[in-house]
Symmetry: C2
Subunit: 427 residues, 2 copies
């Protein structure tokens, strides 16, 4: 079994160790929730202060041009693009993931309505992130489409002549299970449907190659593995094949000035900008967008070391280690691994289920400074203890210590204290 | 004619003078563009730093509960509500003005589709802010409604049995002309239609009483007179009459977790929250939302002095003074007043037109530190020099000095220098 000494040795040899210096983590915290809200980069406070005090405070309205505010959704989008296999001009940072999903699903449904009007079923996974399903449900309701929710294993058998659009989250938020983006996209295309990927738990967490997979649309989140700050703007990506072909008649419904072909002409009629620019809508929160850029920069800082490929190697080493140690050191405590063991099917998180006490165990760990999170189950799914592993700021010893805390919480029965009893779930 | 000495005397007697100390204005700047981007409050940098360094940096994911992030859209919304005649629980701060307009227009159209399916015309003003018209155009296109654009003077004659929804901006962005909110709303209701107000140039600028006017829906902007910072989140308001009546079947299309009846239950099916909460969508940019709250607080700071009523008195005194001084001191230079002289029809800005050189004159003024803005004309409308007056941080001498600069720019022909020639309009 891997020992604490082994972990320390691995950390000492970790070529990515300098990346951790980009962050100021709170004392005494082992943070395994970067999949929910990433850590604050050390550079962010000064950058935010500059935007507030200099660009806004001194530059005022002039900063739209002089500080380049107008370009940020595209420049920050292009930086995110480097992490997801996109080329410049294919990605924008804007709005929330949900709002962006609404835009891309709307456009995908319109494209099919023109190209193959009989295809009026939107397929997604029953276990997809609920808010993604709400957006899909609302659009299907409005457009007279059918929303078909399936288990991932049934996807291939489900695709048929009525399938218009398939929308999946690449890495499942509850289980950490990862889809084969290239294989699924090819199968969906083979069936005549369009493929929309949600990269909320992928961007900055696992290698993604949207152009390589020939995906149609993608959206993703800025505040998880991209370390963009609470509620950071999200992103949207459009396949350049579609971008080149989209005419003036295909609008996404959130038609606004920033997505207009001539945003400063202030003409009364809408005319969509070419390509990804048409996914921009209203004025964006610049302070939060600056913080997002700082976060994205912390992931791009891995490029000289090998980028997402080496981050992925370390992420797998950390999640392998966590699984090994939990199974060895916490055996007999009723924890069941939910996340796939196979590397090619695992994201950057490990989820455990337990028939009772999952909430309280997570709370007891948080009280000890080991921050993961809890996801409630239902009739179909068990309660989940969820642990995210961000290789930028986590080392092997962190994993060892986290499992040591988990072992102590379980061995001692500490989790059964009244103060850890379930009241209300956190986001 | 009012003299500089008079202006100084008025400033010396101004009971609202202490409110100016809430802001740190750049040296040498007279800022007449608070209707485009408000000034940075002195309190904002420290508040933003606290959110970034303490709440996010130290609190991490725990701050969703411990710092109250989850409540901010409602608590900041309630603060904005105090400026627009709303009671607690009627307003949320969220997303952009355009996205919020999309939500409220969608719902208004759905309500009419149920109550009066023959009413399928959305009426707005031809001179409304273009992006409002784009959103309306996109929705009408999708829902098979007709978008009817009219001149303000023709509104009453236009209302008819096919009118479903009327959407107007309370204070016109180009002219500063203000609608009679109560009168127009009553007429629209009398004709059987629903009334949606955009308060982008009203909230924090003029007294607004949404409940008193019995309006149906309203949206507005956080970064203009509310001083919320570049791209600050916007707001949406819903009449409590409708809020009480809205059933589970009336969704706004951006159906997301934050607008769900049980946002943390993560059920696969959407069920809208009661009332205004259903206008919340995805996760909000908390750093920008904190800055917005600081901005709103600067306007609420006028409450002990009499609130929006006294701010309005000062605003009218400043715009009256500006009009008087321009007409007296810049006579013969081809400037024409576009903004209504009547107080009850004027917002908190003054717009001047000129057949040529409007852009260059604005640029020459900016070079002197007098920041207003330029709005391009078209076949129907002249080019505009636009000056916004925020009584929180502007005094009578500022107005005098601004007109003195304008006079010098015109008398000297300085604006004809090549560096002020028109290249590209700013936002």
């Amino acid at each position: 079994m891997t020992t604490l000494t082994d972990c320390r040795a691995r950390d000492a040899q970790d070529p990515l160790r300098p990346l951790r210096d980009q962050f100021t983590l709170p004392e005494g915290v082992i943070y395994l929730d970067g999949n929910s809200l990433g850590v604050c980069p050390t550079a962010t406070p000064a950058r935010v202060a500059e935007v507030v005090q200099q660009q806004w405070g001194q530059g005022l309205i002039r900063s739209w041009n002089s500080a380049g505010w107008f370009d940020w959704p595209r420049t920050v989008g292009d930086k995110i693009g480097r992490l997801i296999g996109a080329r410049p001009g294919q990605t924008v940072a804007t709005d929330s993931t949900s709002v962006n999903l609404f835009k891309v699903l709307s456009l995908a449904m319109q494209m099919q309505a023109q190209a193959a009007p009989g295809r009026r079923t939107l397929v997604s996974e029953r276990s997809n992130f609920p808010t993604d399903l709400y957006i899909a449900e609302a659009l299907c309701r409005e457009r007279g489409w059918t929303l078909q929710l399936i288990d991932a294993a049934d996807l291939m058998a489900t695709l048929g002549p009525d399938t218009g659009v398939v929308m999946l989250t690449h890495v499942n938020y509850r289980t950490g299970a990862m889809h084969d983006m290239g294989g699924v996209t090819a199968a969906v295309h083979g069936a005549g449907a369009l493929m929309v990927w949600d990269l909320a738990h992928s961007a900055g967490a696992v290698p993604v190659d949207l152009n390589g997979a020939d995906a149609d649309f993608a959206v993703g989140c800025g505040y998880k593995y991209l370390n963009g700050g609470p509620g950071a703007p999200a992103f949207a990506w459009l396949n350049p094949r579609h971008a080149a072909r989209l005419g003036d008649d295909l609008w996404q419904p959130l038609a606004c000035w920033w997505g207009h072909a001539a945003p400063f002409a202030f003409t009364p009629d809408y005319r969509p900008a070419p390509g990804i620019q048409r996914f921009l809508c209203g004025t964006q929160p610049m302070i939060s967008l600056a913080a997002l850029e700082c976060g994205v920069d912390t992931v791009l800082a891995a490029e000289p070391y090998g980028g997402m490929t080496v981050l992925r190697d370390k992420s797998l080493a950390l999640t392998d280690l966590f699984i090994e140690l939990v199974e060895a050191r916490c055996a007999g405590h009723g924890l069941t691994l939910v996340t796939p063991r196979e590397h090619r099917r695992r994201g950057s998180q490990v989820c455990l289920s337990r028939t009772e006490g999952a909430y309280a165990i997570v709370q007891a760990l948080i009280a000890r400074g080991v921050i993961g999170d809890f996801r409630a189950g239902d009739a179909q799914q068990p309660d989940i203890l969820r642990f995210g592993f961000t290789p930028l700021y986590l080392g092997h010893e962190d994993v060892w210590q986290a499992v040591e805390h988990l072992k102590q919480v379980l061995d001692s029965g500490e989790w059964q204290r009244p103060e850890f009893a379930r009241q209300q779930a956190v986001t």
